[in-house]
């Protein structure tokens, strides 16, 4: 057998914290050969990123490699001096980070940043660095590389920034590329372009790639082998085909089940014996609840050259009890639309008829005390950001009841308990602060707050985008259940067609402020008429279908 390029044996990483030592990675073994793509899949807190940080020796001060060895191309990384590591990083081992904008220096032209790396490692001189940097930019398929050389990160889109980060990472032709969630936060079509680029460049240079991701679909599409991590341990390691054909570990099976796929219903995301499963019933839509007509929002001075039409003559209807999906990529105007419907933002023109009243005539400022305020509520994208960090969960849920509820103190207390129970939040968590709650628990607090006033229309702005798939599965089922129990209408905003499909009766696809296609979910997704819808659908990485019969799971403790 040939010698692996990277050989990690028995790696354990520990962090010193306020509450003693925490083991983030426990006895991990990994081998990676030249030219191979290995995926590390796991949910937040599984230790997948920490493993890669240990590999590059960029753990923060509290973390240390407690035991085990990391050997890369014959060099013992665990015992290498900082000087050796400095030379290795960038030249032999490179990394692509999650947030491309944060990884780039905001006040330095991107071309310069590529030059810096090459000059640092002696691969270019001041004289020829510029030409080489432009070559590198062309290699990552940036058009007009000559002009882009002078661009600053803020002038480029997220996808472009990630290309620059890739260009920097690959400038010195490293042997190993570590990609830590390289496409999180990017649109699906951009994600596809970026991932295709990484794979293509890796193949061209015979480079080994370590792809760290939470998305099984992405790993399935691009990796040769996959290791699954849970709570700091590797629970399963197999080739991609094997893993999807015969997932052995119960955690892998749970993860595969929770990943939305083409043929799944919302209840399929949870195991058969899970009490939180909900099978949606088909119900005819009621009379129109919200009618939006010719809605326009222009930013910038009106009639001036740089006025931007974020939302352009939008018309749609949400019926009572219906769940309508609004899909589009970032910048298409979907968030502006939701802010206008929620009456947080005043439209430039157009009407918003909600239950017979034209809301567009009421200024957003005055709407806070309007009787219809309680009828329109929203669940936010980022559960952490949407909770006041100084308030306990109880206080956050009680807030709308205090302002608009007109309940006595005792009734309010009871109502909060009831809401917590309804969204499946254990009562003892109500007195905790947001930073003491997990992502899923914070999402529940947000949902409980939104339904506290029995709204008729709930806008869900990517409510599961920040959650792990297993938590997303539970939250999606909860949302289906709540809609049926409380007879609410949903306007579900998302970039993920797979998730929209699970929750919506009807879908609208939005591009550049306009709706390009609209129709019943099943038809729109199976026979998309508009090329944009088709490109969106094609860009989603799909995990292979679940095997009809799963092999008997190994013992969980194994």
């Amino acid at each position: 057998m040939r010698k692996p390029l990277l050989d990690i044996q028995d790696l354990t990483v520990e962090f010193a914290t306020r509450h003693g030592t925490v083991t983030a990675v426990q006895r991990v073994d990994l081998q990676l050969h030249k030219g191979e793509t290995l995926g590390i899949v796991g949910e937040s807190g599984s230790g997948k990123s920490v493993t890669s940080y240990a590999l590059l020796r960029i753990l923060d001060r509290a973390g240390r490699i407690a035991s085990g060895s990391i050997v890369f191309g014959g060099v013992d990384i665990g015992g290498a001096t900082e000087r050796t590591m400095g030379e290795m990083r960038g030249r032999e081992l490179s990394m692509i980070f999650q947030n491309p904008r944060a990884a780039l220096n905001p006040i330095r032209a991107v071309g310069r940043q590529i030059e810096d790396v090459m000059i640092q490692h002696g691969l270019a001189t001041r004289g020829n660095a510029r030409a080489k940097a432009i070559q590198t930019l062309e290699a990552v398929k940036i058009r007009d590389a000559e002009q882009r050389y002078h661009a600053y990160p803020f002038e480029l889109s997220g996808g472009m920034c990630q290309r620059i980060v890739i260009a920097i990472a690959l400038a010195c032709r490293p042997q190993l590329l570590v990609a830590d969630e390289p496409t999180t936060g990017l649109d699906v079509t951009t994600q596809k372009a970026v991932m295709d680029l990484i794979v293509e460049l890796a193949a061209e240079r015979q480079m080994a790639t370590l792809l760290i991701t939470h998305d099984l679909g992405l790993a399935a599409s691009y990796c040769d082998r996959i290791v699954v991590m849970e709570k700091g341990k590797i629970v399963e390691s197999a080739t991609t085909e094997q893993l999807f054909a015969r997932p052995r570990h119960p955690y892998t099976q749970r993860l595969m089940r929770a990943t939305p796929r083409l043929d799944a219903q919302v209840s399929d995301l949870l195991p058969l014996d899970d009490s939180r499963r909900v099978i949606p019933s088909q119900r005819p839509a009621g009379p129109p609840l919200l009618e939006v007509e010719q809605l326009v929002k222009t930013f910038g001075k009106r009639d001036s050259a740089d006025a931007v039409r974020a939302v352009d003559s939008l018309s749609f209807t949400v019926h009572e009890g219906e769940s309508l999906g609004l899909v589009g990529e970032s910048g298409c105007g979907k968030s502006t639309t939701s802010a206008m419907v929620m009456r947080l933002l005043d439209p430039t023109s157009g009407s918003l008829r909600f239950a017979g009243t034209d809301l567009a005539t009421i200024p957003a400022k005055a709407f806070a005390r309007h009787p219809l305020r309680s009828q329109l509520q929203m669940v936010f994208q980022d559960p952490t950001d949407s909770l006041n960090p100084r308030w306990s969960a109880r206080r956050s849920i009680a807030d709308p009841l205090m302002r608009l509820g007109k309940l006595s103190r005792q009734d309010r207390y009871r109502r909060v308990e009831e809401l917590a129970e309804r969204v499946g939040l254990p009562g003892e968590l109500l007195d905790r602060f947001p930073h003491q709650l997990s992502g899923g628990q914070k999402a529940r607090v947000g949902i409980a707050r939104a339904i506290a006033l029995n709204p008729r229309l709930l806008i869900l702005d990517e409510p599961t985008a920040a959650l792990d798939v297993s938590v997303q599965a539970v939250v999606l089922n909860l949302l289906v259940k709540l809609r049926e129990e409380l007879n609410m209408s949903y306007l579900f905003i998302s970039h993920d067609l797979n998730v929209v499909r699970l929750l919506c009766d009807r879908v609208m696809v939005m591009q550049a402020g306009q709706i390009v296609e609209e129709g019943p979910t099943a038809r729109l997704l199976s026979e998309p008429a508009h090329p944009y819808t088709r490109s969106l659908l094609e860009a989603i990485p799909h995990p292979p279908a679940m095997p009809a019969t799963l092999p008997p799971p190994l013992k969980e403790s194994a």
Partner: protein
């Protein structure tokens, strides 16, 4: 039973949680504990000092002038035979009172103006910003001198002058802290819950902006003490024979040349200790009010 615990039991639980957290902050960082001890000492001296001191700080004694430190007079006596130790301890109250009032006024007015500017932006922001810039354009101590000289030599005017020169720091800090949270998710959520703008600003955004301001308050306290003492030192503000650190240093300075060093040294040390305490306390205070550190 349970209904009573709704909001009723939370103050008690809150106090207990706060005390536990206080203990943690103290044990986690010994410097904070040390600063806190000093702080208690200073506050104690300010509150009960006048009843504890061995001599009347104003009583002159022609028989024992300019005595060096001894068991009878720990810090010696001054040119009029007054006990320097008693005067230093009694002066704590006045100096601390000036600093606390000045910082309190600066904090309340400055952070209110800053918070409004940060939340509403536009004209509110422009006007406040330019006013603060105008204050900052003067050398601050000279501005304070000017204010006291123009308005009159009283303790109140020292307080107002110190407050005015501290205003811009709070206004700027509050403006930034509020502005970054203006469009946070929890603010949008509060709008959906039917909160009026002022309520969101006062009860949601402002408390979240407090931790860095706490540090500013503590640093400013030291500075305000120094400022008040400085004004008295140059003869503005507090009028002799009132015991005040700045005046005592000023009077004592004349005697250093003749070898009577204790007159200026001890009030000077007291001044240094107070400033040192408040500077050290700043970091501890931030830990205390930051909910992220409370587990």
């Amino acid at each position: 039973m349970t209904t009573l615990t709704a909001d009723g039991a939370s103050p008690l639980a809150g106090v207990r949680r706060f005390l536990r957290h206080l203990l943690y902050v103290m044990t986690d960082n010994p410097m904070t504990a040390f600063a806190f001890m000093l702080f208690l000492l200073i506050v104690g001296a300010a509150l009960v000092g006048p009843w504890l001191v061995p001599y009347d700080p104003l009583a002159t004694n022609a028989g024992s002038t300019l005595q060096p430190p001894s068991w009878q007079h720990w810090f010696g006596t001054d040119q009029l035979g007054r006990d320097v130790f008693s005067r230093v301890v009694v002066a704590t109250r006045l100096d601390l009172m000036i600093a606390v009032s000045a910082v309190a006024i600066a904090f309340v007015v400055g952070s209110t103006l800053g918070a409004i500017a940060g939340f509403y932006g536009g004209w509110a922001e422009r006007i406040t910003g330019r006013c603060m810039d105008t204050i900052m354009a003067f050398p601050l101590f000279v501005l304070a001198m000017g204010i006291v000289a123009a308005a009159g030599n009283t303790v109140e005017n020292i307080i107002y002058a110190t407050a005015i020169i501290n205003l811009p720091f709070y206004a700027r800090m509050a403006r930034t802290e509020v502005a970054v949270r203006r469009n946070a998710g929890f603010v949008q959520a509060a709008r959906l819950s039917g909160n009026a703008d002022w309520r969101i600003l006062a009860f949601q955004i402002f408390p979240n902006s407090l931790p860095p301001m706490m540090v500013q308050i503590s640093l400013n306290m030291g500075w305000a003490i120094l400022n008040a003492a400085g004004l008295s030192f140059i003869g503005l503000g507090v009028i002799p024979p009132t015991p005040e650190w700045g005046i005592m240093v000023a009077e004592g300075a004349n005697y250093i040349i003749s070898g009577h060093w204790w007159l200026a040294l001890f009030p000077g040390l007291a001044l240094m200790l107070a400033v040192f305490t408040f500077n050290l306390l700043g970091d501890g205070l931030r830990d205390l009010v930051d909910p992220q550190r409370r587990t």
